[in-house]
C-alpha cells in the first residue's frame, strides 16, 4: 500500500514536470519563431540569414539595418515585454478578485490609465514640449491605481462577478469618454499622435522606450515571481491565506500595486489593449493543467508575449499599408475565449 502510494506520487510528479517542460519549450520556440517571422515580414521582406547577420553584427544593407534596428526590432521586443506584462497583470487581478474574467481592460484599469496619460501628455506637450517615459508610466500608474480602487469599492460590497464586471466596464466607458473629450479639444499637432495611441498600438516604439519598459516590467516580474508562494495561498481565499501566515493587509496592497503598475506600463506606451489579460492566463492554465503561480507566472508572461507579437504582426500586415489597432486583433482572438469561458461556467 505504502509503496504503491510513493510510486503514484513519483509518477504524477514526473508527468507534471514533463508537461511543464514541454509547455515552456513550446512557448520559447514559438517566441523565437515569431520574432524572426515578425522581423522578416512587412513591406520590405528581409531574409532570415540577413536578419541574423544584422542583429548580431550590425552589418548589412543600410536600409535593411535601419528597418530592423530602428523600427521592427524595438517594436517586436516592446510588444513582447508589454504583452507579458499585460497577461501577468490579468493573472494577478484574477487571483485578487477570485474571478477568471477579471483583467486590466474589462475592469476599466487600462482606460483609467489612458485618461491620466492623456491629461499628462496634453498638459506637458503644451508647456514643455516633451515628456519622459517615466512620467508617463507614473501618470498611468496613478490612473490605474485610482480606477482599481474605485472598482474595489464596488466589489468589496457586492461579491458578485457580474456586478464587478459591469462596474469595471462602466468605469472604462467614463474614462474613455473623458479621454476622447480631451483629445478633441487638444492642440491639433498632438492629435495625430494621441489618437493613434489612445486606440492601442505598438507602432513608433523607440529603443529608449523599450529600455524603460524592460526595466520596469523586469523588476515587476521578479517581484511577482517572488510573490508566487503567498499568491498560491491567496488562491484559497484571504482567510485561509492569513491562517497560513500571509500578512493579508500588506499582501493585498502589494498585489494592487503590482497589477496597477504592470497595466500602467502597457498603457503608457501602447495604450489600452483588450482581452489579452483574460484570454492568455485562461489558456495557459489549461495547457499547464495547473493554477500554481510558480509555474503559471513565467508561462503566462511568455504566453502573453507570444500572443501580442502574433497580434501585432497581424495588425501590421493584414491590410498593409493600413495598420489595425492592436485591440482590434486581440479582441478578435481574445473575446471568443472569454465567451467560451462564460459558457463553460454556466454548464458548471
Amino acid at each position: 500500500m505504502n509503496e504503491q502510494i510513493l510510486i503514484t506520487d513519483k509518477n504524477e510528479s514526473r508527468k507534471r514536470r514533463l508537461r511543464y517542460t514541454a509547455v515552456f519549450v513550446l512557448l520559447a520556440a514559438a517566441f523565437l519563431f515569431i520574432v524572426v517571422l515578425n522581423i522578416n515580414t512587412g513591406n520590405v521582406k528581409i531574409s532570415v540569414p540577413d536578419i541574423v547577420r544584422i542583429i548580431f553584427t550590425g552589418e548589412g544593407e543600410q536600409t535593411q539595418v535601419n528597418i530592423i534596428m530602428k523600427i521592427r526590432l524595438p517594436r517586436i521586443l516592446m510588444s513582447a515585454v508589454l504583452g507579458g506584462a499585460l497577461s501577468l497583470a490579468g493573472f494577478l487581478l484574477q487571483t485578487f478578485f477570485e474571478n477568471p474574467i477579471a483583467g486590466p481592460f474589462v475592469l476599466g484599469i487600462s482606460s483609467g490609465a489612458k485618461m491620466t496619460v492623456a491629461v499628462t501628455m496634453i498638459l506637458f506637450i503644451n508647456k514643455i514640449g516633451m515628456i519622459s517615459s517615466y512620467i508617463l508610466i507614473f501618470a498611468a500608474f496613478i490612473g490605474a491605481f485610482l480606477s482599481l480602487g474605485f472598482v474595489l469599492l464596488f466589489s468589496r460590497r457586492i461579491r458578485n462577478m457580474a456586478t464587478l464586471l459591469v462596474a469595471g466596464i462602466m468605469l472604462g466607458y467614463i474614462c474613455t469618454a473623458i479621454t476622447d473629450f480631451l483629445i478633441t479639444f487638444a492642440e491639433d499637432s498632438d492629435i495625430a499622435n494621441l489618437h493613434n495611441w489612445s486606440n492601442g498600438s505598438f507602432s513608433g516604439m523607440t529603443w529608449s522606450n523599450f529600455y524603460v519598459a524592460l526595466l520596469v516590467v523586469g523588476v515587476s516580474f521578479v517581484i511577482c515571481f517572488m510573490m508566487a508562494k503567498p499568491l498560491g495561498a491567496y488562491q484559497l481565499g484571504e482567510a485561509y491565506a492569513q491562517s497560513m501566515g500571509v500578512d493579508i493587509k500588506k499582501f493585498r496592497v502589494l498585489l494592487i500595486v503590482m497589477s496597477s503598475l504592470l497595466a500602467a506600463v502597457v498603457t503608457a506606451f501602447a495604450g489600452p489593449i483588450s482581452f489579452v489579460g483574460i484570454a492568455v492566463p485562461f489558456l495557459i492554465k489549461r495547457i499547464l493543467n495547473t493554477s500554481k503561480p510558480i509555474v503559471v507566472i513565467p508561462a503566462v508572461f511568455l504566453g502573453g508575449s507570444v500572443f501580442c507579437m502574433i497580434s501585432d504582426l497581424i495588425a501590421r500586415t493584414a491590410f498593409s499599408p493600413l495598420e489595425l489597432n492592436i485591440s482590434t486583433v486581440t479582441s478578435l482572438f481574445g473575446a471568443p475565449v472569454v465567451i467560451y469561458m462564460m459558457l463553460r461556467r454556466k454548464r458548471g
Binding site: D9, K229, A233, Q242, S243, M244, G245, K285, T290, S291
Partner: protein
C-alpha cells in the same frame, strides 16, 4: 495548563459587539464545541480567535502569549483553520490543496522538500484520502472535501484546529467519520479542537466541554452534563415546540395536541418507543404505563405522552399505581399492548393486560 484562554473577550463586527464577556479556558488536547442558534455569534468567536476579525475588548491567550503578539507566520504553525466558505480554486488536485498546508515550513518560493511530501502523505493517511489524492478538488463530494481540508490543516502541524460548522452538508456517515478523526487527533496527538457544531446531539457526544452562545443573552461554558440541562437547551435554542433529551441526545418533536389521552399504551423495556413515535406522527394524544422511571420507554413517554403511569425502579408495582393505571386505561378509547417482558417485579402488568384483553373482547363481542 490552559492552552487557549479567552478573558473578558468581546467580539463583533465594526466595533459592534455580538458576544460580550467571554471567559473560556481550554486545555491541550481537549475538544470544545460551540453550540447555539444560527447567527448567535459562534463564527464570530472563531473568526476572532483566528484573527480574521479584530476583537473589541478582552484578551485571547494562546499557549501563554497574547495571540495578537504572534506574527501571522508564528501563528500559522500553531493554529490551523477549516472554514465554512467554499474554496474557489481551479485545476488543483486534492493533494495540491493538502500541500498548501505546508506553507509555514517551505522556503521563499514554496518548493516542497521530501519531508514535506512525507507530511502530506501522513496527513492524507490520517484522513484516509489516498484514493482521491489526484482527483480534481472541485470534483469531489462534500464529505471528501472536508477530509481534504482537514488533511490540509494537519499539514500545518498545528497544536490547535479551529473548525466552523465542519459537519454541515455532510451525511450521517461522513459526519461520524469526521468526528471520529477529530477525536483521535485530540486523544492521540493532543491537538486541541475548537469547533462550532449545529448538531447538539453530536456536540454532547464528542466534546469534552461545551460553549453555549446566544448573542449577549446567554453564554455558558462547562462539561456536557452541566450544559445539557433540558431547560438550558430549550432556552438556548428558544425551543417552544419539541424537546431535546440531554441524557440520550435525542431530538423529539412536540407532543400530540390535546390533554386527554385517547390511547393507552402498555409498554416497557423499549417496546413502546415505535408506538409512541407513530402516535406522535398521527397526532393522537396517548397515555403510557406502567413504566419504571429508569425504563428507556419512560425517557420518551415523558416527552410525548399526555400522561405516564410510573413506578419507582426495581420495586414491585404498588396497588395504588395499578389502580391509577386501570383508571387511566378505562378512560381511553383504545388500548395498545406492545407486549413488554414481564418478570417478578412487574407481575401486576400481566393483570393489567388481562383487563385490557377482556375489554377488547367485550367490545368485539
Amino acid at each position: 495548563m490552559d492552552y487557549l484562554k479567552l478573558e473578558h473577550l468581546s467580539v463583533g463586527y465594526n466595533n459592534q459587539s455580538v458576544v460580550d464577556d467571554i471567559n473560556i479556558d481550554i486545555k491541550k488536547g481537549e475538544i470544545v464545541a460551540l453550540i447555539g442558534p444560527n447567527g448567535a455569534g459562534k463564527s464570530t468567536i472563531l473568526k476572532s480567535i483566528a484573527r480574521e476579525l479584530d476583537i473589541i475588548s478582552g484578551k485571547i491567550i494562546l499557549d501563554g502569549r497574547d495571540i495578537h503578539k504572534y506574527s501571522f507566520k508564528e501563528l500559522s504553525s500553531k493554529m490551523a483553520v477549516i472554514l465554512t466558505e467554499r474554496i474557489k480554486v481551479e485545476l488543483m488536485t486534492c493533494r495540491d490543496i493538502v500541500a498548501t498546508g505546508r506553507y509555514p515550513y517551505t522556503g521563499r518560493l514554496g518548493f516542497l522538500t521530501e519531508k514535506d511530501e512525507e507530511k502530506i502523505n501522513e496527513a492524507l493517511e490520517t484522513v484516509q484520502a489516498f484514493d482521491i489524492a489526484y482527483k480534481d478538488f472541485n470534483r469531489i463530494s462534500d464529505g471528501q472535501r472536508q477530509r481534504i481540508l482537514l488533511a490540509r490543516a494537519l499539514c500545518q502541524e498545528p497544536e490547535i484546529i479551529l473548525l466552523d460548522e465542519p459537519t454541515s452538508f455532510l451525511d450521517v456517515k461522513h459526519k461520524l467519520e469526521l468526528l471520529t478523526i477529530l477525536t483521535n487527533l485530540a486523544r492521540k496527538k493532543k491537538i486541541t479542537v475548537l469547533t462550532s457544531l449545529h448538531e447538539i446531539d453530536l456536540a454532547e457526544k464528542v466534546a469534552d466541554r461545551i460553549v453555549t452562545v446566544k448573542g449577549k443573552e446567554l453564554f455558558g461554558f462547562g462539561k456536557p452534563e452541566e450544559i445539557f440541562e433540558e431547560s438550558n437547551i430549550r432556552e438556548l435554542y428558544d425551543i417552544k415546540k419539541g424537546f431535546f433529551d440531554p441524557l440520550l441526545g435525542n431530538i423529539e418533536l412536540s407532543k400530540p395536541e390535546g390533554r386527554k389521552p385517547k390511547v393507552f399504551v402498555i409498554a416497557g423495556g423499549g417496546t413502546g418507543i415505535p408506538v409512541f413515535r407513530k402516535l406522535q406522527k398521527e397526532n393522537i394524544p396517548f397515555a403510557a404505563g406502567i413504566l419504571y422511571t429508569n425504563d428507556i420507554d419512560y425517557r420518551l413517554a415523558r416527552l410525548l405522552a399526555a400522561e405516564v403511569i410510573t413506578e419507582q425502579p426495581f420495586e414491585e408495582i404498588s396497588d395504588e399505581t395499578f389502580e391509577r393505571a386501570v383508571a387511566c386505561m378505562n378512560s381511553c378509547e383504545k388500548i395498545i399492548n406492545t407486549a413488554p417482558k414481564i418478570g417478578k417485579m412487574n407481575k401486576k402488568l400481566e393483570e393489567l393486560i388481562n383487563i385490557a384483553e377482556k375489554r377488547q373482547e367485550e367490545q368485539n363481542g
